[in-house]
């Protein structure tokens, strides 16, 4: 972004202040995440940088909060992590299956009432979570699924499918339908055509939608707060209770693990997006 030599001073000033503002916003966005890292290795119980940490004294750092997270007495994190992963994995699988099928139907040019159906399918994304939470809770209570894993998985499928529908529909917009017709003309049945031709081509979209669904489920707290009993506690619920009662360094240890996880998800989502664009022949 070098400026040409003939730029007037006032535009030069404007340009650099613009860059400065941008830098500030980027710091505002990313810096909070990096506060958590060092503090989670704090040897003391307080959530401020101790003198020792400021002087980089090795004694001021420790892994005690990570140990507490894993081995601590009566700690809820093990169960919460197990539940979170089980619920998120099943919710993701459900969202992917239902969402991909629906997206295939929606991308067909024969699909009737496309607008209203699309609006219905992505409505859980538009309706504020608290309202979804109340509605889903009423259903689960009637169906006897409140405070069960099944209930929470179903709830998260509701919240996750819109992402799969949107990403897979987007992938299918660049999809060349003549390849499936070619397969059919060569004698392949529809299921075989889908598995061998369509699915590999739309896979990046499916997986990135699945990642969205996974993160939605893994991070969801509003609906779970209505649905979960003591047995179904998840990581977000534990963090919510922890943050409300007392901000302990153990929470920071958990938070650090979650940041690492989200970095992994970010990297895979980004790689998938690029692969998908390459497959669809979109060059930038």
């Amino acid at each position: 972004m070098a400026l040409p030599k003939y730029t007037e001073t006032r535009y030069r000033v404007w340009h650099y202040s613009y860059l400065f503002i941008c830098a500030c916003v980027f710091i505002f966005l990313i810096a909070p995440l990096f506060v958590i890292f060092p503090l989670s290795f704090n040897a003391e119980e307080f959530l401020v940088f101790s003198e020792g940490m400021k002087n980089l004294d090795p004694d001021a750092f420790s892994l005690r909060w990570y140990k507490d997270m894993i081995y601590g007495t009566k700690n809820p994190w093990g169960l919460a992590a197990k539940n979170s992963f089980i619920i998120a994995i099943f919710a993701t699988i459900g969202s992917i299956i239902l969402g991909t099928l629906a997206a295939l139907g929606l991308s067909s040019r024969y699909m009737p009432y496309k607008g209203i159906i699309m609006a219905t399918l992505i409505s859980p994304m538009i309706v504020p979570l608290i309202i979804s939470g109340v509605a889903i809770f009423f259903f689960m209570a009637k169906a006897g699924l409140a405070a069960t894993h099944t209930g929470i998985v179903l709830a998260h499928i509701i919240l996750g499918t819109p992402f799969v529908v949107i990403t897979v529909t987007a992938t299918l917009t660049g999809f060349d339908h003549s390849v499936t017709r070619a397969a059919s003309s060569l004698g392949s049945n529809p299921v075989n055509t889908f598995m061998k031709i369509t699915l590999p081509l739309i896979l990046p979209g499916v997986i990135s939608g699945g990642l969205f669904a996974f993160v939605t489920s893994f991070d969801e707290v509003v609906v779970v707060l209505f649905l979960a009993g003591l047995e179904n506690t998840t990581i977000p619920i534990q963090m919510w209770t922890g943050l409300r009662e007392q901000l302990s360094p153990t929470i920071l240890a958990v938070a650090t693990c979650l940041i690492v996880l989200s970095t992994l998800i970010l990297v895979s989502a980004e790689l998938l997006r690029r692969r998908s664009e390459r497959l669809r022949g979109i060059n930038r």
Partner: protein
């Protein structure tokens, strides 16, 4: 030409147009069948329950079902003077059944909400009925009126009559701090008890300002991301995407650490001499905390749609504007800015709708001022168990969101929403 094409037949002898229609219908059904599983699933678990919320919010059948004979008798009563003997007789019959089923407490509770003072007089009547003090051979009206002086007060009977309809809009009125007066007119609650209006206004205010701040901060960086060469912008994009993928609670936790009185932000202010060390400002548990944390959390939802729109704007347009004599500012305002409006619309809509339904972050960093309408809904769902009131407020909020969405659709069009 057209008469010839109509006569074209397939090998089976069916006109081509009929055959084509048949094939198209088959394709339609095929496409529809693919959508059916998800559509059915959502209708059953999500759309119908929202309808259920509506039914619950207007439901007022409890008293209607408890006092059927009373209300039948009341149909003939003008509602101005004391009700006739039949009403009392009907009420007594209904009440006996309630006492037998031990449901009179529920009735007392509900009627007490309608008019204060019902609790004690129903308890009194209950004791009389339990001890069989009421002689069914004589006038029941006289005997009930003797139980307590309030039973002689026509206002209490009017209050019972008001609970007769099986449906009510009272919960919606309560949501905006109003209620039905004794004559069925709509009244405002006292000035110092109008809590819900404060919450609605606060929710709107916070959603509006968070949207505004996100726009003001998101626009420059989306522009920078869209105009920088790929290798730099990809790196900077991580700064937007990493928070986007990181847990909401993690980000809230980090703001709680940053904004506390001994926290880094305050340390920084002290260091540059902005505030005295012994006079550190409280930045959490008030609106400042809510604004700062919510803006950071929702900013990616503003940047991503803006970025995807800005990416499609050719840089040569700005150059053309400048070469035709416009200053950079004029070129920006007249050419670039109007082209980004779809992105602005999508970003603002997303952030506003997310912000209006938020409650986790405000509840953690907002203190007393962090109570928004969503907290209130959750509170009534989980603590007071007044589900019909929670439903009513939820639907009011939903209506608001749908109006925003409708306006947006009119102005910009919904098809511009993209993810990443």
């Amino acid at each position: 030409m057209s008469s010839e094409t109509q006569q074209i037949l397939t090998t089976d002898g069916i006109p081509l147009s009929v055959s084509l229609k048949k094939a198209e219908r088959k394709n339609k059904i095929k496409a529809f069948l693919l959508v059916v599983p998800l559509l059915l699933f959502l209708i059953i678990t999500y759309i119908l329950p929202i309808g259920d919320m509506f039914m619950r919010s207007i439901d007022d059948k409890m008293v209607t079902n408890m006092l059927p004979k009373t209300f039948t008798a009341m149909e003939k009563w003008d509602g101005k003077e004391m009700p006739p003997e039949e009403v009392f007789a009907g009420f007594y019959t209904d009440f006996k059944i309630l006492v037998k089923n031990k449901e009179h407490g529920k009735l007392a509770q509900r009627l007490n909400k309608e008019k204060n003072g019902f609790n004690s007089i129903i308890k009194k009547l209950f004791r009389q009925v339990q001890r069989n003090k009421i002689d069914e051979g004589q006038s029941i009206k006289e005997q009930i009126m003797k139980v307590h002086k309030r039973w002689r007060d026509v206002e209490y009977w009017q209050a019972i009559k008001r609970t007769a309809p099986p449906y009510t809009t009272a919960k919606y009125l309560k949501g905006v701090d109003m209620y039905y007066g004794p004559d069925g007119n709509i009244l405002q609650v006292e000035e110092d008890r109008r809590i819900h209006r404060i919450l609605w206004l606060r929710t709107l205010e916070i959603a509006f300002f968070v949207t505004l701040f996100s726009f003001l901060m998101g626009y420059p960086i989306a522009h920078l991301l869209a105009t920088l060469p790929m290798k730099y912008s990809n790196l900077l994009m991580i700064c937007v995407l990493l928070p986007f993928w990181t847990s909401l609670l993690v980000r809230t936790a980090s703001w709680m650490i940053l904004l506390q009185q001994q926290g880094i932000v305050n340390d920084f202010f002290v260091m540059i001499g902005l505030v005295a060390d012994d006079n550190r400002p409280e930045m959490m548990y008030n609106k400042v905390g809510t604004y700062v944390a919510m803006t950071q959390i929702l900013l990616p939802f503003m940047v991503l749609p803006l970025y995807s729109v800005m990416k499609t704007i050719s840089p040569s347009l700005m150059r053309a504007g400048k070469s035709l004599g416009g200053t950079p500012f004029v070129a920006f305002w007249k050419i670039y800015f109007p082209l980004t409006i779809p992105g602005i619309g999508a970003g603002c809509l997303l952030v506003f709708i997310l912000a209006i339904g938020y409650y986790i972050t405000p509840a953690l960093v907002g203190g007393a001022s962090g109570t928004l309408i969503s907290n209130q809904i959750a509170y009534h769902m989980k603590t007071t168990l007044d589900w019909s009131f929670a439903s009513a407020m939820g639907l009011m909020l939903l209506t608001g969101v749908l109006v925003v969405y409708w306006v947006y659709n009119k102005l910009v069009g919904v098809d511009n929403i993209k993810l990443g």
